[in-house]
Amino acid sequence: MPLAVNVSAYLKQRARWSPLEIAFWIFAFATIWLFPGKYLIMKDTAILALFALSLDLILGYAGILSLGQAAFFGIAGYFSGLVAKYGIINEPVVALILGGLVAAALGFVTSFLVLRGSDLTRLMVTLGVSLMLYEVANRYSDITGGADGLQGVTVAPIFGLFRFDLYGHNGYVYCLIVLFVCFVIVRRIVYSPFGLSLRAVKGNALRAAAVGIPVKWRLVAIYTIAAGFAGIAGALLTQTTAFCSLDVFSLDRSADLLLVLIIGGTGYLYGGLIGAVIYRFLQDWISTLTPQYWQFWIGLVLVAIVLVGRDRIGAANEAVRNTIYRLCTRLMPRTAALRGAAPDGT
């Protein structure tokens, strides 16, 4: 049937990397050579971007409201710090992956908590879990270093070859590569039947169950996966700074993350990345103005965003994206003819 072939081609074509995406990543990797003095801030941004991507998975694609992603970020952060400090695992990449798995395990165990109840209950429970971990880390300060943080962490060179240097060059490249690999995996998930079923669950959970989707298990799965990625981000932070402290579990971190996603937009993968870049530079700029009362301005931004209207910002965001997209398709009409709607419905 010609229509079937057409449909199949159409669906697969949608998942192809658009020229805009390719340009984005080329530029991202080019920053290694373009901005040699800014490795530290760019590394922070890359980590934040991965962290935000993990929240986008559950918030933007599955519709779970969570204030507790920091729990997974932090647990992997401490894990990778501790295994490096006590020489249990000497290869950073292995520690990274294991850290992600530890975080994913915590995600799996706590996922059952977010299945029941209202938005408020979910907020409470997710926040509660990360505050609990904060308390635990605080009480067992003989292991975790408590409020002073984990001291004496020395991270071995990656693959025995690439040492973490003072300028942060290797650290940045490491983070960027990890971010890209994780992104590719997430992208694959989002364009898969599993990813589509998540959007269905978010849109109408009742109907999703009525067409045979095991809603509970899909949510558990994505929550676990997202926790794993948040953990990888946390482990990256510890490994590249050789330090880990209690604030990895704080409300501040989860709130900042929500802010990043709101600036960047949810549900289209690049929201976390773009939001992280804007947020980090915003933070840098404001910190030079008022180093001490940074929190005040963040609060003001949050209030302003809500009053202006998240949907208006989202719409403005989409408008900007559509304009850029239309500009590009005009420049490259052949690829435009084959592409259809993106998974976010634009």
Binding site: M1, L3, A4, V7, S8, A9, Y10, L11, K12, R14, A15, R188, I189, Y191, S192, P193, F194, G195, L196, S197, R199, A200, G203, N204, L206, R207, A208, A209, A210, V211, G212, I213, P214, V215, R218, A221, G340, A341, G345
Partner: protein, 249 residues
């Protein structure tokens, strides 16, 4: 042989009895209609059958198997699907994606996370077949939210059909559909395969009497009358129950 059977089904909400001692038997291949005045509990019965509500008492048998304790999605896997009185669709997805979900789940690849949507030909072939059968081909790439109501209603039924159910529960399929689009809808319902058993809830008596080969009447949560259409139409008690409605209609 009854493919769908309820035995003494009861549902209480606090002090309110929404369904009481409902014992219904739907024969295989039947076109069975469930009618009754507003608030009689018809949608409650559908919700109990599909697992959205858990009964306070009684059992539900599907093809001889006790499904009372099963979750909604498990019942779908066993071959029971439903439509909703008020469209329950995925507004941000396209009809293609929507039907694709149901087909994908049924063929067991709904949970695949490493494969791209559209890469399994068996799935796409079936999606296209259903899209064409329900006359949705011209709108299959549009966002569901912007489709006209009649098309949405067709999609609602197509989605249930995509689950390839043995038993299809239709909750007021003609509700709210404008006159112009009714014909297409009714033709589609009439064209459903003979081996699919259909349980239909409807207020539209023309549709009921032209479609059904058996009618059950539900009043105040209890089964009132159950029999062939001619018998039900002649029954004086049914007329009495509906007299108030006819005066308003």
């Amino acid at each position: 042989m009854a493919i769908l059977e309820t035995i003494g089904l009861e549902k209480r909400f606090g002090g309110i009895v929404a369904a009481h001692d409902v014992s219904l038997a739907v024969e295989k291949g039947a076109r069975h209609a469930l009618i009754g005045p507003n608030g009689a509990g018809k949608t409650t019965v559908i919700n109990l059958l599909t697992g959205v509500l858990k009964p306070t008492a009684g059992r539900i048998m599907l093809d001889g198997r006790d499904i009372t304790a099963l979750d909604p999605h498990q019942r779908v896997r066993l071959g029971m699907a439903r439509t909703f009185q008020i469209n329950q669709l995925f507004l941000d997805l396209t009809p293609l994606e929507t039907i694709g979900l149901a087909v994908s789940e049924r063929l067991g690849s709904g949970g695949d996370w490493w494969r791209l949507v559209g890469s399994k030909t068996a799935v796409t072939d079936e999606i296209v077949e259903i899209v064409e059968r329900f006359r949705l081909a011209d709108v299959m790439h549009e966002r569901t939210a912007i489709l006209p109501y009649g098309k949405q209603r067709l999609l609602e039924i197509a989605l249930a059909f995509a689950c390839r159910p043995h038993v299809l529960l239709l909750d007021e399929p003609a509700a709210g559909v404008p006159e112009a689009e009714r014909h297409e809808l009714l033709a589609t319902i009439a064209a459903l395969p003979a081996e699919v058993t259909v349980l239909l809830i409807e207020h539209d008596m023309d549709l009921v009497f032209s479609f059904a080969d058996r009618i059950s009447v539900l009043v105040n949560g209890s089964l009132f009358v159950d029999g062939a259409p001619e018998d039900v139409a002649r029954d004086p008690r049914v007329k009495a129950v509906y007299l108030g409605e006819e005066a308003d209609a």
